[in-house]
Every structure is written in C-alpha cells, then in structure tokens.
C-alpha cells in the first residue's frame, strides 16, 4: 500500500501533464464520473457534509485498522475532488489519515476550489474524513 505522501506525489505528477485549465477540469470531471457509487443506504441526512454548495455524502467504515471511505455528490466537480480525497485517504490507517498534511490542492492549481465559499466545502470534507478516522480508530 502506498503512503499518503506517495499518492500525493502521484496526483501532482498527473496534474503536471495538463497544459491548461480545461484539461485539468475535464480530468476532474472524469474522476467524478468514475468514482464508484456509494451504497444508496448511506445517502442519508446524517452523512451529508455541511458547508458545501453541492451536496456531499460521506460514509466511512473500519476494516482491520484501515478506514474505507465511500462518497457521492450531486455536482460532478465536487465529486471529482471527493474522488481525489478518496484515492488519497481510503484504505489508510486511522492514524495516518488524522495526521495527513493535504497540501496537494494548492499545488495542483485548484486554488480557486479553496476560495471562500467553496473552501468551506472542501475543508469540511477533509475535516470530516479526519474525524471519521479518529472516531473509528480502535
């Protein structure tokens, strides 16, 4: 299993290949489309993350010390970002997730995704993933 840092490096390399924002956003859209569907039973009010303009459902479960995330969003761009976060964090140990330094968003030139209103959503997502990790850590 790759570490979170290694996966971050990989994502940075992926995004380095793109020449313009269109390619970058198309890639995000594709990631969103390819994200495995969340089990419908988890698309409930309790799993909604607050602070997003679009709705994001996040579910987490523990599997022999590792945290498995699944998620969905009704907006495809948001889903693309969620897919990146899942690629990074799903399957990692609770401890690693809780202490992960996720600076890749800035580096891949999606800074505007971090600006004010949208940032709330993204930061809420990361915070919620870390909280799940801490809560499920046994």
């Amino acid at each position: 299993m790759q570490t979170i840092e290694e996966i971050q490096e990989e994502i940075l390399e992926d995004f380095d290949m793109f020449e313009d924002w269109i390619q970058k956003y198309e890639y995000l859209i594709d990631l969103g489309k390819d994200l495995p569907a969340i089990d419908e039973k988890y698309k409930i009010e309790e799993n909604l993350i607050k602070g997003c303009q679009s709705r994001v459902w996040l579910h987490a479960e523990e599997n022999s010390g590792n945290i498995i995330f699944s998620a969905d969003s009704d907006a495809i761009m948001t889903k693309g970002i969620v897919a990146l976060l899942i690629r990074l964090l799903s399957g990692q140990s609770a401890n690693d997730i809780a202490h992960a330094d996720l600076d890749f968003i800035n580096k891949i030139g999606l800074k505007e995704q971090l600006s004010a209103t949208r940032a709330n959503g993204l930061l809420s997502m990361i915070k919620q993933m870390k909280l799940y990790a801490i809560a499920l850590d046994k």
Binding site: S54, D74, A75, T78
Partner: protein
Amino acid sequence: MFEVDKIRERFPILKREVNGRDLVYFDNGASTQKLQSVIDTVSNYYKEENSNVHRGVHFLSGLATDKFEETREVIREFIGAEHTHEIIFTKGTTDSINLVASGFRSLLNKGDEIIISELEHHSNIVPWQMCCEYSGAVLKIIPLKDNGELEVNKFESLLSKKTKLVALSHISNSLGTINPIKEFIEKAHKIGARVLIDGAQAASHISLNMQELDVDMYCFSAHKMYGPTGVGVLYGKEDILNEIPPYQGGGEMIKDVSFKKTTYACLPHKFEAGTPNIAGVIAFKSAIEFISDLGFNTIAEHENYLLEYATQEILKIEGVKIYGTSEKKSGIISFNIEGIHPYDIGVLLDKMGVAIRTGHHCTQPIMERFNIPGTARISLAIYNTKEEIDVCIESIKKAKQMLS
C-alpha cells in the same frame, strides 16, 4: 441616445480581466459594480471632509452633516416620499427589515398574523419568524404558481382582521418576478393591515413613488444600485415610524438621557443610533444621481432588451429550463440544464471569466417548491451588453459540453 460603452467607462472594474478573459459580470442581483463617481466621493470624503455627523460645532462636522443630509433629501425625491424624516439610513435591506421586525414585536398580540410569500429572500422570512416567536403572532404564506407569480386569490383568502402586516418583495431575487405590489397594498389596507415591501431588487430597475404606492414601509440597499456597501434605506410613513419603538439604543437617537427616564429623539434620528456609514451615505447620492440622470425609461428599455435576448438565446440550448416566467419580469434568469448541477456550471463559467451566481440564492423555500437543489442565475444591470450575453451563452455551451 443611450450608449452602453459610455456607461461602461464609468465603472472602472468592468475593464479588468478574470482568469485571463474580459470580465462578464452577471451577478448584479447579489451586488452591482461601483461607479467611478461613487468611489471618488468616498475617497474625497476621507481626504477632505471626514468628521462625525450631527455632533460637532466645528467646520468639518457641519460639512459632513450637510452632505449626509443632502443624500436623505435626494432619496426622498428619488422615491417620492412626502417627508425627508421618513428616510432612515440603515446598513442595508436586511437591516431595514430587522429594524421593523424587531420593533413590531411589541405592537403584536398573540394570534395576530403576518403574511409573507413563498418567494421571499431569507431576509424577509427569518426576521418575521423571529418576530412571531417573540410575540406569539402567526406567519402565513402566499403560495407561488409554477410561473413564479404569486397566487393573488390565495392572498385574499389569507387576509383577515388578524392580519397586522404584509411583508413582500417587489421583485424576486431568484425568479425575477415583478409582484403587483400596488394591488397587494390596496387589498391589505382594506382590512387595515400595514405593508412592508422589500425593494432590494427593484430600486435600481423600476421607478418608485412611495406616495402613489401608498406603501407603509419600503426597504432597499445602496450596493445593488451602483452605490457603496453597508448603506441601506428604510422608508416608512411618519405615523408608523413613530409607532415602532427604537431598534438600537445609543448616541444620536436620544432626546434626553437620565437614569430615571430616557426620551428618544424624533425621526429620523430615533432609528439611527451610533455613527453611521457617513462616507457611504454621502457617496450613495452619486449613485442615485447616475440612475436619475439616465432615467427609468432608458434603464427599462436596455435591461428589457437584454433580458429578452438572453432568454431567447439561452432557450436555444438543449435541456435548459428557466425558473420564473412571469409576465412582468426583471432582468433575472434562473436556469438549470438537465442532468447538470448548477454549481458545476458556475465553476466552469467562472474559469471563462463569466460571473454568475449558483445555489439557492437565499430562497430555499423556492427551491423546495420546484424540487431543485438550486439554479444558475444571470442577473443583469444597465452596463451589461448583448456581446456579453453572447460570451455567456458560448461559455454555457462549452461548460455543457465538458459536463455531458
């Protein structure tokens, strides 16, 4: 003759680029851009005139006070109010509504009723919910038709002796509906209810005359009228403003203060506690003059042309649905594209230099009514152009192609 290029020159921000493209600013319903004359007036105030109003005996205080009061008179004329002291300066429309809602609590009894509508902005819903919570009054809602118009018949059936206040928006910020407020006001007055109109979306687009409308209270914001942020107006008929108790206590709003009994100042000062946004109020005059000089006929002609053109072009895009198709409509187009979330449209348009708003626009009941998470919203202003609409339409097509 109206030349939009000449108008655009007066708004410095319109020259800037966003994400490497010429800015197309279609989020005027949220806030309009600022006139050079407004910016200059603010700047000049701090450079040449700054002092507190209504207090000092010295030269600068007198100057600031005179300019501040000049705006009040200009607004009185602009909205056709009878008296200058019926113009109260606030922070904005939300503040104006809260001022009234907060004071109205003490005028209501348990079981009294306040009527609002399904298309209100949250700022014309929540203050009344709070007012009802404190007073025991009951909130009644005028329902919305599919085209975004209010059900006038239902309004009539809601009116009764218990109705003490009707609070409605003049123009819906989400749907663009222009409500027939004169009709609503007449009907409400017949049973003795007071009427407050939220005019935030109207004041820079349609001509207002308080005396003709016979409205009891009317609110609007400077920042949606090419003026500064943090300045708003509450117009109120003298008698109702005298009836409503003060909103905030402090300096300026008192007649005499003692620990036994404090008496309040007369209108308008009774509602203007503390140091106001002096620079903003003075600069607001420049914005009003800009609108008055253009005239509402010219404004309506240009904005209606843009609205019709944009509506016609956007409907050519497959899968587009427009929310709000009332007969009388302001320059607001709320839309969705089948299978696409409005947020995605907004993010991609932004990358192409086009600023629109996405989401529920602080009108969640409307979104619930249409069973949608939100809409993408184009809202127009006097400086927008046909070419900008073309850029926006091309950008929507491009976004749609990327997202499909």
